[in-house]
Symmetry: C7
Subunit: 96 residues, 7 copies
């Protein structure tokens, strides 16, 4: 079984709905095993959140649509893992 196993998204959202609601919506999408939402930065009207979604055969378009339905925007996909098993990014010699 191939397909997307992890997505790490940089998301800008209004303060409402809260990340509690957003986490609940995302955690029940097809293929999702779990989500983690972590607060990067809080501004007056908005907050930036890092969303990690893990599962099998994740549907990026559906996840993105669910985020937008709650008034938030995906700024970038910072990491994606796909395949028969989850491969972690490897820190290389030049990056140390």
């Amino acid at each position: 079984m191939t397909g997307i196993r992890r997505l790490v998204l940089d998301v800008l959202k209004p303060h409402h709905p809260s990340i509690v609601e957003l986490s609940t919506v995302l955690s029940v999408l097809p293929g999702v095993h779990g989500v983690n939402l972590s607060l990067y930065e809080v501004d007056q009207q908005t907050e930036t959140v890092k969303i990690t979604v893990e599962g099998e055969n994740l549907d990026y378009e559906e996840i993105k649509q669910s985020i937008e339905n709650l008034g938030a925007v995906v700024h970038s996909i910072d990491e994606i893992a796909a395949g028969k098993r989850l491969v972690e990014e490897v820190q290389t010699l030049q990056e140390r």
Copy 2:
């Protein structure tokens, strides 16, 4: 079984009741497996505490209400994990 599995809260509280009492109250709420309260900063009248709650089907509103009942205030939800399993936040390449 989906639902919230971890909440990390930034909480401002008066010195009394102590974090001993607060930990005891939070640890027996429905769905809670355990709590960790760590002191960030101590001021003359107040202290800032980081509260990590882990369990299954955590009820954020009830946890928040219990905190407020003891005279404390939730400043922000810094991290939330939900779903069939606990997903950790992944450090991305750009954050190193």
Copy 3:
């Protein structure tokens, strides 16, 4: 079984009795599985010690009383964990 599972205390003590004696007294209190005493700082008359107590159903008042009986003072409770299992503090995105 709920109750306190870990206490991390910041303690000021005279040089005598030594941390050997203090560790022996604390390690046999009810519910205590083990203690760790680590030296922070040594001054002319006093020393600051970080005391980590782990166990089940720890009784903070009794632990505090035992510390005071040996002439030492608890400055602050820096961390407390309670519940059915020991939950560790989670480092958040904003703290890195």
Copy 4:
């Protein structure tokens, strides 16, 4: 069974197709167990991506061709592991 078990590639690509599409294409190539694509840097027309491919008997030429077919370019191979088992790079004394 020998052969390449890991490739870490530094890749320059246009914004489209997205890394979602690229990850899907690479994850189904022969021998590939999984891929991880992490964003290094985003410019106006292009983005730099670090691609980690793990599997058995990886065919570098085919992987490179698939990347180029999507309009991207391999800048460098930053790490490669081959053999009967995956050997990690060892940090040496002089590098610390």
Copy 5:
């Protein structure tokens, strides 16, 4: 079974007898499972050594006496663990 399980000592010693001899003497004391001696600093006449002793029911007075019998002095007890199991020092939020 309670008692001391770990002692970390800061010790000043002459160059002779060597840490080879000191390690051999300490490793056979009652209750000792093992010792680790690490060199901090070397001066003209003396050297400072960090001694970690682990075991069960360690007898600090006997260990100290053995160290003094070889012409060395215990400057401070930097860490002590006691109880039914070895508890590690926990790094707190304020120390990071």
Copy 6:
């Protein structure tokens, strides 16, 4: 069974043949379980590569010869492990 279990080599090579070819050649030498080649630095005509070879009874002369046959040069052996089991380098107190 004794013999060399790990070699970490600092190697200067021309851009061609690539590290893909070099990894393939080294991974099938007698005793080799696996190799890792990581890029240190790229210059106009040459590149510096760190080669980690792991296995049993590694033959350094044969490995060196294979590297030289591909037009590359071993600058230094940065680490070597030998014996009945692989022993890692231990970071000492003075190095921290």
Copy 7:
């Protein structure tokens, strides 16, 4: 069974014989399970090497003699572990 289980030595040696030869000689001494030789620094006539020897009942005098027989000198014993089990050095609160 007590005795020395680990020795970490700071050794100055001429470029020849190489660390390949030195590792082979040390790895077959009585009680030695394995050795790790890591290069610290290279000078015109000499090189400084960190030698980690692990095993049971290690004979420091014999190890030192073998090193000297190859024209090298032990500058210092940086770490030694002895006893029924290998005890690691513990990083203390004051060292962080």
